[in-house]
Symmetry: C2
Subunit: 187 residues, 2 copies
């Protein structure tokens, strides 16, 4: 993998563990075994790096949801939850939560691109829920859009609560989501 991609990968991990303001070019440089200025060569300033991290997340999400969309809705839901579970296992939060809590003091463009990501995720999950409801695989009383907001917020804050209260909280939230959708016998 090329250095540019490695920088983006490390930056994303740092944002999801310490937050955007808390990580420095030095952190990335040290981990890559290069000098500070090498990071500046690839990303002139921190704002550009931050935006590129969100942009990369959008691309990866687009690829992921395109691939997933060919699967049955139940698999799509479980795999969606697993995306968050993977973060939990590394004690990370999701990118949206990590940036949203600091967004007031961040470059506006980061907020705008994050909105695009959040809306894409919400739209995708809404469709999955709608199809699942129609096919009687999921059961819920709210609209698919509203239910999508509820589930996304469960997962996002589930990661945050798990950091503070322990990993079992995420498991409780995950099984709660599925129970409320009347989904049983998974994995």
């Amino acid at each position: 993998m090329d250095t540019r991609s490695q920088i983006l990968q490390i930056a994303e991990r740092l944002i999801k563990t310490k937050g955007y303001t808390a990580f420095s070019y030095h952190d990335i440089a040290q981990e890559l075994g290069v000098k500070n200025a090498a990071i500046h060569y690839h990303f002139t300033n921190k704002e550009l790096l931050g935006i590129a991290v969100v942009e990369r997340a959008i691309q990866q999400w687009d690829a992921y949801r395109t691939r997933l969309s060919k699967e049955p809705v139940l698999i799509q839901l479980l795999e969606f939850i697993n995306l968050y579970k993977a973060n939990q296992q590394e004690r990370q939060v999701c990118l949206i939560g990590a940036i949203a809590t600091q967004v007031t003091g961040l470059p506006p463009t980061m907020g705008m691109r994050l909105q695009v990501l959040a809306e894409s995720i919400h739209t995708y999950l809404s469709h999955v829920l709608e199809e699942g409801k129609q096919k009687e695989i999921f059961s819920f009383e709210t609209s698919p859009s509203q239910k999508a907001f509820l589930i996304i917020s469960n997962l996002a804050a589930g990661l945050q609560l798990a950091r503070v209260m322990g990993p079992q909280v995420f498991q409780e939230i995950k099984s709660g989501i599925l129970k409320e959708l009347s989904v049983y016998n998974y994995e």
Copy 2:
């Protein structure tokens, strides 16, 4: 109000808007119209200030839940939601979400005290839900503890999503929570 309390109040607001790492002693000093060192007089270092902010939040929460516990369960739930709504109106996130997303790089004591706060909130809401279920005011299929985790995560991440996607998202989440509890005709 004395200076110490004012510092804590400003610090909490800054944590809930920009995050712990992003605010400086200078930010507080400027807003109070005093010099940098005046803040250090009251809180020798940033770690002590951070812990004091969480400690104050625990005290305020204890007072609030004690007062609320005399009300009917439906009022208790609606007032609990209103605590988050108040944050939303100022474009802030909740203290737990704000700190949890950065907790990996923060003084361990802050994480420990935040855990106490989070557990107290969860215990309180669990009791409210349990009583409400028993009295058939709320309806839900999971355990009260599990439902409490779901609702807390809805509200915490609801604030974060509202920052990125707009305030209507918080409203959607709020009405979704109530609908799933079969609570109608509120306010």
